[in-house]
Symmetry: C2
Subunit: 373 residues, 2 copies
């Protein structure tokens, strides 16, 4: 890991150890090879929804409805849970179980899918990982509770012991999810997105499960490490472990309320730059930003990040973006709030060059700031 802070003392995501320059060529090669396999669907009488290539979930037209599927990883948040367990004796595996499911569910719903089935992928560094009954039970309970919240069936999964591949005492948590876009009109891969549409931002609960490499790196700078208190007294490690919000109750409630988002963006890695995810040329003007959760304020301050760096890395209080018709914006906020998730009408889509303007903070991100395909 290249772990040094920058010249100004700023800790950036690149400095926290993940080098996308090494991963991206593989990703491009894999995406090309994957795209070339879509032809096989024709032999079964089906076809892919081409616009879903490069989106958060892959969508196939199987006739009466669309089938959406995905596999997603928790990332390194389990390392925070492990360290906090060492420091406090408490297990947070119920919380990170929810994070893992959220990673899959919150991506799957962006295409308009109702999540139906989740499979668990829990790869431990050896069979002895499963010998801690309290931790294992917390993982099972948290996983089930998240399935209950999202109304999905937990189909099964895989619990391999991978000594020599996964580190001893650690676990690699991931989830796959399958859902249906049903009726097909719910598909929201974005053809309908147009100037004038409103941008509604749903609140986040904290850091969620992206940016953890930086958050973990930051601990070295803190006087009491993970036990350093935030302004409200919550230890930093505990605040980091607030589980990612599950947004499918909101998207399902929106459907029942007759509101069909034109497009959705799950705000994960790359922070607010994810608002630029749609391939079309639009300007996204943000006139209101949501309150920043205390743990993200704390990180921004201690990592000495300016707003541009922070908003390009973290969710900064906004976990999910819904692009809706302007006349449906206020009702979208109400529907989300009725599900217990705060929301604001933050701005709108405009004709213009591809850019995101966060006016209250005087930040501009251009097309060059987000290259995902």
């Amino acid at each position: 890991m290249s772990a040094k802070a920058g010249p100004s003392g700023t800790l950036s995501y690149e400095q926290s150890g993940v080098n996308y320059d090494l991963i991206d060529p593989l990703k491009v090669a894999a995406q090309r090879a994957a795209a070339a396999t879509a032809v096989h669907l024709a032999a079964h009488g089906f076809s892919e929804v081409k616009a879903s290539r490069g989106e958060s979930a892959y969508v196939v037209d199987v006739g009466p409805f669309y089938l959406a599927s995905i596999v997603e990883c928790l990332g390194s948040k389990s390392l925070v849970a492990d360290e906090m367990h060492r420091l406090t004796g408490r297990t947070w595996y119920d919380a990170i179980a929810q994070d893992t499911i959220a990673m899959a569910i919150n991506d799957l719903i962006t295409v308009g899918a109702t999540p139906l089935i989740v499979q668990a992928y829990w790869a431990a560094g050896g069979s002895d990982w499963f010998g801690d009954a309290q931790r294992a039970q917390a993982l099972v309970e948290g996983w089930k509770r998240a399935c209950d919240t999202c109304g999905v069936a937990w189909g099964g999964g895989e619990t391999p012991a991978l000594a020599g591949i996964v580190e001893g005492g650690r676990i690699d948590l991931a989830a796959s999810c399958t859902g249906l876009v049903n009726p097909k009109e719910r598909l929201s891969v974005g053809d309908a997105l147009a100037p004038g549409d409103a941008i509604v931002l749903l609140a986040s609960s904290g850091i969620h499960a992206n940016g953890l490499s930086l958050a973990r790196k930051l601990v070295e700078r803190l006087p009491q490490g993970y036990l350093t208190p935030l302004d409200d007294g919550t230890p930093y490690g505990e605040a980091l472990l607030a589980p990612t919000l599950l947004y499918s109750p909101v998207t399902e409630a929106l459907y029942k309320a007759g509101i069909a988002p034109r497009y959705c963006a799950n705000i994960t890695g790359h922070g607010w730059r994810k608002l630029l995810r749609h391939p079309a040329q639009h300007t996204y003007r943000i006139e209101r930003v949501p309150p920043v959760t205390p743990v993200l304020q704390f990180i921004q301050r201690h990592a000495a990040q300016d707003d541009r760096e922070a908003y390009s890395t973290f969710n900064m209080g906004a976990g999910f973006a819904l692009f809706v018709k302007p006349e449906e914006a206020d009702r979208t906020v109400q529907v989300a709030q009725a599900q217990g998730i705060d929301a604001i009408v933050a701005g709108r889509v405009e004709a213009g060059p591809k850019q995101l303007l966060i006016e209250p903070l005087n930040i501009r991100f251009g097309d060059e700031d987000l290259q995902l395909r």
Copy 2:
């Protein structure tokens, strides 16, 4: 790892480091919690196929067809590929890519599903794993080729860099797969299985991807380690890396030939005991066994295993079992052979206590020898 050989010099699977006594309580708790989530499907107008709980793939009735899904892990075969790369300079990641997809596909088809979509889960021990362009390219190419063989669309996936969770220089490979049972009559979760049905065994290519912990442990006993030649001169490590056969071309060809298996068993962990997978009380009488692949003969000899131990651990030449109506047995063999996969009519299902009788080897496995649910 408890790595000592038994008193007689025999190396058993339990001695190779995986302790199922630690994993099984978690599995049982997870299966119970998972089963309790099936009720959620009713809110969407759907229901689970209850008989698929505990089977190799989870099946949901979504109206016009059944939806089947799964996530599966390669296991520790990548460690053999890494070591053979060190010894020979050649990459085997194209081969183990096929293994990974086979783990998912060969399980999914047991329920009668046509696999449609595969997602890749490639979790590396750090971004630098992806810096070896030759290895990364082999992984992509092998993955695509396996998708081509099975006629599935590669939807996308996840390529996280998980330093601190996955060991440096290693990768955790897994695949999720979604398919349809279409028409619904293709469902083969086993209600139809009955005395008189024939057991057709499809050939394996070698060890496939189960029993690798033992196969790796065995290397310590071999004079030239992974380079120790088999009788035919092939180095042991290379023989281990023969990729798992993909059986979906056979099951798809059977459907086109009008043959609907009553039940299927993918012969993976627990070796031939998987023939006892069906929950009903039947006796399975095997009158012919297929030839044992050279690498499995070699392992059995050097691990000093008797036949009972070997057949309870490895596939011993049979990678997949099809239970078909007796009058369709010969045609099933022909259809498999037309797809380039050898097959034999090995025996039949009989009324009687739950047991597997491998007559040519005088082996009996009872219900107590396989507890998966």
